[in-house]
Amino acid sequence: MAAIWYFLRSTIGLKVVMAVSGFFLFGFLVEHMIGNLLFFLGPDLLNGYAELLHASQLFLWTARSVMILAAGFHATTALVLYLRQRAARPVGYRRTRSRTFSYAARTMKYTGPLVLVFVLFHLAHFTLGWQVTPAPFVEGDVYANVVASFQHTWVAVVYVVAVLLVGFHFIHGGHSLFESLGVRHPRFDGLIRTVTGGFAVAVTVGFVALPCAILFKLAGG
């Protein structure tokens, strides 16, 4: 036990917690995105899927607990590591020039918390049924709620922007998590980056499709 605790407090242990929790969060995203795409197959499938997820309280709360734990560990380790980064360079350079600049990598500390804020809004909106638009929230009728919401431009814009932020977080986090877990080799780096980058793009497109389709009246009419 002491050995595990000692490890988890090291910078490498913290990164491992961050990587594993991030992996669960991304895994959930992929599942969520596929679920969302059922929208395009009609109300019966989407609502049926939602019903299935709610069929067992045990299953529902187990899944929710895993996600809450993953988010909690991820955000906590992010904060601890961020503070260590800050402390490690109290005096900065007058001039810096990057050789490997990656926008996604450098903005992780902004995209992460922004996504957290969005997730809270999102849960309030579609899970707790906060009335963010005039249309009343109908418990269980996911299809109707989604269509009613995304007719409002600002709601669609909030979701699209948030998903783009998630996509950015995914572009760096996707390969970074493998590297933090020690999976890195010149022979496989390209493959890992391509596959995780592909996932990032696919998830982003998959999520953006729904609000866009409704806003532009291509579906759900």
Binding site: A3, V183, R184
Partner: protein, 257 residues
């Protein structure tokens, strides 16, 4: 050629520093960067001013003493090259060259461009060695080492401990340095008995010194004068993870992990 230097000047670790503008005229493009600083220093001395303090020793790219941040890049614009091996022909006439010391909490500035890098030595002292007495050098091939492992170990052992990885990392992390030390011994048979203990002890020492965490932005490997591969960091991560289960609680040195 003529260049304009913007050099960091700082009296000692307790005083504040500033960038000083110094015009360096009639510099030969064939001079090394350090020779250019030597010339500038001679002129400063003749003018009765304090010369610029900078670290150097071998001036042939093998000792790791030199190393400053030149126009925002550790060791300057040429890849795979230490500051001492950099030549003025890499710059153009009239160029402004900003020269700053390495910036990291574990590397306090001692004077001008000289920083105290003994934090790296303390990490090495925590486990970057083989403690068994091995006698004199073994006969060639007496201890078989597979060719790919020997090559990878040699690549990691090329680290000269200059600290450029720390300087270039946006988080001031020392992962490439520690990874190189852990890898070069961890790949060889002589390094196996203490492999897990070494990973645990060196990572702990790295944290103790206050180096930052890695965010896999790969800036370190891009400035490394020895072009150490990022896979050493992955190896360190794996060895440190394995250490959780494999470190014998009591080491031959008698200290508990």
């Amino acid at each position: 050629m003529n260049v304009v230097l913007m050099v960091w000047r700082q009296e000692n670790r307790d005083t504040a520093g500033r960038l000083q503008r110094i015009e360096a005229k009639d510099i030969s493009s064939e001079m090394s960067f350090l020779e250019m600083l030597d010339v500038v220093n001679e002129r400063l001395i003749l003018a009765g001013e304090r010369p610029i303090a900078f670290d150097h020793d071998c001036r042939e790219g093998i000792c790791g003493s030199c190393g400053v941040v030149i126009n925002g890049t550790a060791h300057g614009p040429r890849r795979g090259t230490t500051t001492c091996q950099l030549h003025m022909r890499e710059f153009h006439d009239g160029q402004t060259i900003v020269i700053e010391p390495y910036r990291a909490k574990p590397f306090p500035v001692l004077r001008d461009l000289v920083v105290d890098r003994s934090a790296l030595d303390r990490i090495t002292a925590a486990g970057g060695f083989v403690s068994a007495s091995t006698g004199s050098a073994p006969d060639g091939n007496a201890i078989p080492v597979a060719k790919p492992k020997a090559e990878a170990a040699m690549d990691a052992a090329a680290c000269i401990g200059c600290g450029a990885c720390v300087a270039a990392c946006p988080n001031a992390a020392a992962m490439l340095f520690v990874g190189a030390k852990i890898s070069h011994l961890g790949l060889l048979p002589q390094g196996q008995p203490e492999r897990w203990m070494r990973a645990e002890a060196m990572v702990a020492a790295m944290d103790r010194e206050g180096f930052g965490p890695c965010t896999n932005v790969t800036e370190c490997a891009a400035v490394c004068p020895k072009e150490i591969n990022l896979s050493v960091i992955a190896r360190m991560n794996r060895d440190r993870m394995a250490a959780v289960f494999l470190v014998a609680r009591r080491s031959p040195r008698g200290d508990t992990a």
